[in-house]
Symmetry: C2
Subunit: 387 residues, 2 copies
């Protein structure tokens, strides 16, 4: 490969690809041609799998599961045993960082996450600091353990492992609200009334997330993803100031290469970020994740780039609810999504590429056999598109 990549050296790319048995995800992230469209699923290790529920029952609680290296390794690999997925993603939670800041994360049964000490006043905000990364050692240990479990007899990794974190804004939502929210009233009241406090939280979150993702890279993560799950609740203008700018601050601090000198793929996903796609195209990352409201063809035209141009790979974006339909309907919707992107770059060199995914996390009510139908349809149809 002699093409110059705008973000990665040829050596770093070769190292990234050559150490993988299945390099389709990594190649597509870095805008190189692949024989089919790779896929993984947000929340692919989760409650829809009976084997996950069994491990969780052993662990006793969600945090018991997430903080135990062996359990986290076990559940991360479960979906790969069932389906020929093209990437693994660390089993963890997006809220580990604020927990390490001392906010006290817990998961009540049947409810979402909750913080014992939300940020509700200036004093609490002033006390906030970038946490000691040692408090997150359990995450980095899980990354190393998963990488080991993915290593094959030939020394190559079966598929790449994606590390992740919540975005500075998404973390701030939970940190101020203390839990999930319908209206984001508390965090937006702070944003509109005391933007100085909000900027302080976001700056600390950005520096914390960067350190956290860099430590995941050092531990072996081959790609990292920033989940801006709540970016889409912001108003135009506020999104750019309070979410996008701090995602950019994270990206500016991220390591470009892992411990073997391999290129690291950097993914940003903003749920509801469709209105700002053009502006997200300027982020210093390799891949943009898209939810199901976005037309992939339009997104490719806007930010997908041409051969050797500074475009982004696109990841997404089928509605997870499609998985409740019968397999024939799933296959038809998969084809519609793949066709909306169009035939990806067939190379050599760089060009528009697509990583198939859901537009959001998989539902706990999904029949596991429907996931098999989805994976088969993605691999099958995307091979035929390239023929």
């Amino acid at each position: 490969m002699t093409t110059t990549h705008p973000m990665h050296t040829t050596d770093a790319l070769d190292t990234a690809f050559s150490r993988l048995q299945n390099d389709t995800f990594m190649r597509a992230c870095l805008r190189h041609a692949t024989p089919y469209t790779p896929l993984w699923l947000m929340r692919q290790a989760g409650r829809y799998l009976p084997e996950y529920r069994a491990t969780r029952a052993k662990a006793g609680s969600f945090m018991g599961l997430a903080t135990n290296r062996d359990y986290a390794t076990e559940v991360t690999l479960q979906p790969l045993e069932r389906y020929p997925l093209d990437a693994a993603i660390l089993f963890s939670d997006i809220l580990t960082v604020p927990d390490a800041m001392g906010l006290g994360l817990s998961f009540a049964l049947g409810e979402g996450p909750r913080f014992a000490h939300p940020l509700r006043d200036e004093a609490a905000v002033n006390q906030l600091e970038v946490p000691d990364m040692e408090k997150l050692r359990y995450v980095f240990d899980a990354v190393s353990s998963i990488r080991k479990a993915l290593t094959q007899a030939d020394g190559k990794s079966r598929v790449p492992l994606i590390g992740f974190s919540g975005s500075p804004w998404t973390l701030a939502c939970y940190m101020v609200e203390g839990a999930g929210s319908d209206d984001y009233r508390l965090v937006k009241t702070m944003l509109y009334s005391r933007p100085d406090l909000m900027h302080r939280i976001l700056a600390i979150n950005a520096d914390s997330v960067a350190a956290y993702l860099n430590a995941q890279i050092d531990a072996g993560a081959q790609a990292v993803m920033v989940f801006d799950s709540w970016g889409g609740v912001l108003a135009d203008g506020a999104f750019q100031t309070f979410s996008l700018a701090y995602t950019a601050r994270v990206l500016s601090q991220l390591k470009r290469q892992g411990p073997q000198g391999q290129a690291i793929a950097r993914i940003v996903f903003t749920k509801g970020g469709g209105p700002w796609l053009q502006e997200m195209g300027s982020l210093d990352c390799d891949v943009l994740g898209l939810d199901w409201t976005v037309n992939l063809g339009a997104a490719r035209a806007a930010v997908g780039g041409v051969a050797n141009g500074p475009g982004k790979a696109l990841q997404g974006n089928i509605d997870p609810n499609v998985l409740f339909a019968p397999p024939a309907h799933i296959a038809a919707e998969v084809a519609r999504v793949l066709d909306s992107f169009g035939t990806p770059h067939k190379g050599p060199g760089l060009g528009p590429t697509h990583i198939f995914n859901l537009g959001h996390g998989i539902s706990q009510h999904t029949p596991p056999e429907h996931v098999a139908a989805l994976v088969e349809a993605v691999h099958g149809h995307s091979r035929s598109m390239r023929a």
Copy 2:
């Protein structure tokens, strides 16, 4: 006024404007110049007002309030007594139509709406019919009563009255789910598994909504608005097929003129509809409502039209959470939103116009004096923009 309006005759426009004391809302809807930017607020008659809570307490329940002509009139006028708003909106609920279809609407205290008989199988869908509009007489009686209460000594209406309905898709969401939903799993399972059933529901909903809005027009509503509150949860492709097409079916059946031959303004609001703004620009309506994620300047460029062109007036779109900030911050955000649209059409003839509104309903937690600050800022800043 000698300009030809693409949708309304000169006579119908003159009749619409001349029968109003304050015609700014109606003029802006129909893309005529106004001395300032008119405003009203989604859910302006509501729980944030102590006088509303007092009337609701008298009525005993939400449906007791909505189905009583005198109470509905009383609460519709309450925000106009406090603030110099430029339009009134009928106090009612978006779910009256499925209730009239026999689904059994109720509002449990502290919870959202609930249907006793949701549509869960083919038999239930097959039994669905356009309801007898006599079952919705209480709504039309409220419209007549409110119009009477708004009529001044000179025979003119103080401000115009907006009638409304949920969109066919938004009604279908509640009709299938039976209540609000986090994931729209049931309605999307039907959509992806049995699109034939979904199309049957939507066709009946569209014809019902059209008959319902036409009866509101006959009863005196000077503008009608279709609330597609849940259009934004649909995937690209599904939105066009299952929401937009049926909103278009409603619009194609709507009366263009009221009983006095006056032009009726037709507004469509899709929460989360930003990704499909261009396609919504082809709808046969006068105004598009926008939520706060949309940049008004970009929307104006996309669908606002030029002088005498087939553009849309735009309505929106400040984040309701801005109202939790102090008045000086509210004024700054109001100016930002008005400036993002830019100076509206000042001409004779037709051109880009803006109706200020929230991007979604006002929160029950809003301090009423903050609404006064918002209204003053909108009127003041928008006058200065035209100077």
